[in-house]
Assembly symmetry: C2
Homo-oligomer: 423 residues x 2
């Protein structure tokens, strides 16, 4: 039993929590190649589902190798089928509202452009300065291209979206509000319905980035009346590095919107190869090029696994895991100069927990050398992503124990203080 | 020995050609799941390389499963590494001019936009009306968005690019000329250097679609002084259905151009996640989102196989194969109402051969039921793509023999006359 600070925490408690975990069996559904490694970066790259490698091999051998071009009669529906699986089971979308396509950044560009083009009398895009870099850059590029103003509302990364500031920013010149549902830095969750309502009251459309929420936090696109959304599949959805992304367009808006990249997979009656572009009905018009079939099978496997676990159960476990980490951090790490960055209120926190420490980058490197994979975010954040699908409470316990030990011993001090710059 | 029409052709001659084929051994490097099936659609979807399935399984298991997020230190260079492999060995590009990214359509949009934005005083995009549908649509969308004119030069699909018509269209208001190197319908090859010179003389930039030439026809991007190019990897490059595409930007232009989708993989010093978008130096600025790692490994395997065979050898064999098909078609099929659509001059033909027949679609379906996979293109074209990497002369012989038999017997007449329309 460890006694540090006001709270008593022992490993047996973590073991009891694991024994009572209704999702415990899902750990066997992902590959654990190195049982000694504690992986707390599932919010950056999710683990490999056991079934994915087999599925890829089978699809390659049977559908591509044997079926050859004839398999396109099945493949052509795949982006919508897997989109529906993801949309209906994880995002509370309706059939035909989600499709797998392109990357998150390209989808963001397409939908943001479609939105501002549908509001030609409005000249402003609102986002917040804590939004994920690619979101900010894509919106800035679009604003530059269309001669619009990008209005970044200031958000304290640890607190999350600032509703009063957002309310002030949403005037009747705003065409689009684009935000992340869960902050990539602090894990703060925005109120999807309340913020969407604010935007609608101002006559603006909303475009949400769900990358850090899908598969770990309930997302109610229909109830919240969200207009547009995008997200990646390689974090909690375990679809693999750089796997294809998804996009959502509310059914009632599909026929009114037109995205700017007029590819043949967005064309009505595509294989007639007619002279003029005529956007397909429904969600297909937001597609562009030939879908990446094998990569979409990996998305399907990941999404199915997460859907089988169930978002509500994953959410509850994520809250419990990060709550447990908060307790440990208060007891063990606060005396060593750490400070919890994420919201302490469970209801306002996604499935990752962020800690401030002036030497966060050095600690991140030292932890990796001691078998704890965490993540660093500028300028002083150590991000712990105990993905609820496969992370145990004992993993959290052992990880923070190793962190405590290494920082107490000053083992991080020999590491570079600044990340190497990729040029 | 068969005597039909003026030419005498027998199967023994096909066998002798195969015995003398220096590329014969490459057939063992791709999966032939059904030895009775004659696959003449490698120009639509290339066969599965034997090594690809194994490579995907290994990368999934070791790099994703075991290495987890740490593998990004290797993955981050992959798009450029495989781009160089493709560019240097197959397209005569220089290092740092080709990168694997997105789909062909998205790449076409990015580069076409970058080109017209770099020529703000010019208001016209020239293409031809025989260009592949997605190219025409993407250019039309861009012209619509930027308020430019799209000027489609009329091209007779069977003859290929009409140089005098193109010369007339290229006035000093043209910002960009975008064409396909090899016509998807007839296989006619455009003169890359001559057409690029015409465009440059008019002060326009050139953007070539290499989808139907890379890996089957020599492409000399450097010698021809091509400005921009894109292409897909799932045809002759055997990277699998919907595999990631590539883009090429001539080194001297890279710093002058800026593409419109400002994603984080196009950002200088990406992981600093700074407040403002600042395009990376070199080819990276034409990237957008997170690259699809496993899918790029499949590109690497396909490209390496093609590069090992060698483009010059593939080109010679492609000419010999399609020339042999022309002979057979003249002898056997012309009397049955077929007419060769592709240029008869070997030097003006890519690696596929197209035949006109009023019942082309019915014949295509009947042929598939008899173990010959060909392709149909509007309105009356039967397209035969004997990819030189793995197609034998006996395959060509047997395919045309089966076609002759089935048409002579009227076996195609019971099939639907019009392709089903996908809605």
């Amino acid at each position: 039993v460890v006694h540090d600070g006001p709270v008593t925490v022992d490993r047996a408690r973590a073991e009891r929590l694991d024994a009572a975990d209704p999702l415990a069996a899902f750990r066997d559904q992902v590959v654990i190649a190195d049982p000694d490694l504690i992986y707390l970066d599932g919010n950056s790259l999710g683990r490999l589902p056991v079934r994915t490698a087999e599925r890829l091999a089978r699809a390659a051998r049977e559908e591509w190798g044997r079926g050859l071009v004839r398999s396109w009669s099945d493949w052509v529906d795949l982006p919508r089928q897997v989109g529906d699986l993801l949309g209906i089971r994880l995002l509370q979308a309706r059939p035909g509202e989600v499709v797998i396509a392109d990357s998150t950044s390209v989808n963001l560009y397409k939908l943001a452009a479609a939105a501002v083009d549908a509001r030609p009398d409005r000249r402003v895009i609102v986002t917040d300065d804590d939004n994920f870099p690619t979101d900010r850059y894509v919106l800035a590029g679009l604003a530059h291209e269309r001669g619009l103003d990008l209005r970044p509302v200031h958000t304290d990364a640890d607190d999350g979206v600032d509703l009063p500031a957002l309310t002030r920013a949403l005037d009747d010149d705003v065409a689009l509000l684009s935000l992340s549902h869960v902050s990539y830095r602090s894990g703060a969750v925005a109120d999807l319905a309340a913020v969407t309502r604010l935007a609608h009251r101002a006559g603006a459309l909303t475009l949400w980035d769900l990358s850090h929420s899908a598969g770990s936090v309930p997302v109610s696109l229909t109830d919240a009346e969200v207009d547009l959304a995008v997200g990646c599949t390689y974090k909690y959805l375990c679809a693999g590095p750089g796997a294809p992304a998804y996009l959502y367009v509310r059914r009632e808006l599909q026929e009114q919107l037109r995205q700017p990249i007029w590819g043949w997979f967005g064309q009505r009656d595509q294989f007639a190869m007619g002279p003029e572009y005529d956007p397909a009905p429904g969600i297909d018009r937001f597609c562009v090029g030939t879908p990446s079939v094998l990569a979409i099978y990996a998305v399907e496997e990941g999404v199915r696994l997460v859907a089988d676990a169930g978002v509500d159960a994953l959410y509850r476990k994520g809250q419990a895991l990060t709550g447990f980490l908060v307790e440990l951090a208060e007891a063990w790490l606060a005396p060593l100069g750490f400070r919890v960055a994420s919201p302490r209120d469970d209801a306002r926190r996604g499935a990752h927990l962020t800690l401030h420490h002036p030497a966060a980058w050095q600690i991140c490197q030292a932890a990796a050398d001691r078998g704890v994979i965490a993540d660093y975010r500028t300028p002083d954040r150590l991000r712990l992503g105990p993905a609820p699908l496969y992370t145990r409470f004992v993993d959290g316990y052992d990880a923070l124990d190793r962190l405590r030990e290494l920082v107490a011993a000053g083992a991080h001090e020999g590491y570079p203080a600044e990340p190497a710059r990729v040029t």
